[in-house]
């Protein structure tokens, strides 16, 4: 039943958006003009495309995120059994955490955590 409910929830979200779109299409006004179709840039005529190369700083943080997010995924199943394992839990995860902290320290030392 659990997964049926998950699908129900996602279908509900889909229905909400699609229904509102349809209602708006049916009762909303419609008009078109060349100027109306231009992107809004505070009244200044648009030049070129907006899909330009973006500062590499964003990608550095995305890569760091990837590393630490996968780490958290590995930590979840460990966290559930800490109570049963007691002190052994800390020892068993210790090496994993040390490697990760070293990774963070390396990124910090290299200046990757600075916004450039």
């Amino acid at each position: 039943m659990n997964f049926t409910l998950l699908i129900t929830v996602l279908v509900t979200a889909l229905t909400l958006v699609v229904a509102a779109y349809i209602v708006a299409k049916l009762i909303g006004p419609r008009s078109y003009a060349k100027v109306k179709g231009e992107p809004y840039e505070s009244g200044i005529p648009t030049r070129g495309s907006s899909w330009l190369p973006i500062s590499v700083g964003f990608y550095l943080f995305a890569i760091l995120f990837l590393m630490f997010d996968v780490e958290t995924v590995f930590l979840y199943p460990w966290a559930v059994v800490v109570k049963d394992f007691g002190a052994m839990a800390l020892l068993s995860i210790g090496f994993f955490l040390v490697v990760l902290v070293l990774g963070l320290a390396y990124a910090w030392r290299k200046g990757d955590l600075e916004w450039k």
């Binding site: 779109y21 708006a24 992107p39 907006s50 997010d69």
Partner: protein, 362 residues
């Protein structure tokens, strides 16, 4: 405590045995009812939150807020929603039309999905997986993709910049959000939402009491990271009105914009709701170990406790939003990667030590 699953079981038996419907038909009816309940709850809470935000903001700035539509401005939100619903949905010529239309769906999916995980009452959790908290963080991060697609698909320079900022901010803060939840899971020993709340029933069993220092640190870090995750408050770089007009939803009109607005408010509620569930005991009442007092507190329904705690946290987050000035992007990233993340990792080890040595309140 009143167990809501009695009602659902009674209803299930009513459909299957009394009315004699088949498996498929009864499950279909139940699913439609659950879907309707989610939509009604979602819309109602969104209306309450939007009204609350406007009034709270107004009173913080010594204004009155909306006063004209209805008594004390009570009908303002409904008027706004109606207005939004009858506006034209307009797509910019150069936009990537598919991404542009898909973006609100993803944002709403992430938001509604996370919303369904909240435990409203004993036995009234819609999605109650044994990997609850884990799946919750997974589903709620679908919203990031939606916001990114919205900004990128609009083909507007403000939107693209805003999308990049929103993405880098939300993924950064997700790490500490997850680490705080893991800190809590260590103490509860389960990821199931109902299990987490059940671990907190009893005298002084709320996680912030049970886990004292590490749990309180995790609670505050969770609130800060959650505020950033919901793109609100001092962390609203992504839609900084003074520099990026409306950010990633600049090019959206009518209900397209309405959905981003809705999801933003609901994400605030979800963050407050998860914080209330995981750290403040969800529907678990205040118990102090004195029978008479506990009996009176247990008499108050769980949903009142849950809503009370959640709206208290919502109010605190609104207070933060209308008090602090906006952070710059380098400050936002510095706060996360140089302060909150190392703090969360140390806190995780601290919590493990506390649990391993049995120093928590049993």
């Amino acid at each position: 405590m009143f167990d809501f699953s009695i009602v659902t079981q009674w209803f299930d038996a009513l459909l299957r045995e009394t009315l004699g419907l088949g498996d498929f038909l009864s499950i279909l009816i139940e699913c439609v009812l659950v879907g309707t309940a989610i939509l009604v709850g979602y819309a109602l809470i969104a209306c309450v939150l939007i009204f609350m935000e406007r009034k709270v903001c107004a009173y913080f700035q010594c204004r009155l807020g909306p006063m004209r539509v209805g008594y004390w401005g009570l009908l303002q939100v409904f008027a706004d929603v109606l207005k939004m619903l009858i506006k034209e949905i307009f797509i910019v010529d150069k936009a990537d039309k598919i991404l542009y239309l898909v973006a609100p769906i993803l944002v709403i999916m992430g938001s509604v999905g996370a919303f369904s995980f909240l435990p409203w009452n004993n036995g009234a959790t819609i999605l109650d997986f044994n990997v609850g908290v884990f799946l919750l963080t997974a589903i709620s991060s679908i919203g990031v993709i939606g916001i990114f697609l919205a900004g990128w698909g609009s083909n507007n320079k403000y939107s693209v910049l805003s999308a990049m900022r929103a993405a880098v901010q939300m993924i950064s803060y997700e790490v500490s959000l997850c680490l705080c939840l893991i800190t809590a899971v260590i103490l509860t020993g389960t990821m199931q939402m109902s299990g987490i709340v059940e671990a907190q029933t009893g005298p002084f069993k709320w996680l912030i009491f049970q886990g004292h220092i590490p749990a309180i640190i995790a609670f505050f870090v969770f609130l800060i990271a959650g505020n950033a995750e919901a793109n609100r408050g001092p962390f609203d770089m992504a839609e900084a009105e003074s520099e990026l007009t409306a950010g990633h939803h600049t090019e959206y009109s009518g209900m397209g914009f309405g959905f981003f607005y809705l999801a933003e408010f609901l994400n605030l509620f979800i963050i407050a709701g998860i914080a209330a569930t995981v750290f403040l005991g969800g529907w678990a009442p205040v118990n102090i170990g004195i029978d008479a007092f506990d009996a009176v507190m247990n008499y108050i329904p769980g949903i009142v406790w849950f809503m009370g705690k959640t709206f208290f946290l919502v109010w605190i987050l609104m207070w933060i939003k209308w008090t602090f000035p906006r952070l710059r992007i380098d400050q936002i990233l510095k706060l996360e990667w140089k302060y909150l993340m190392p703090m969360c990792l140390i806190n995780l080890v601290l919590m493990t030590v506390v649990v391993a040595l049995g120093l928590y309140i049993k």
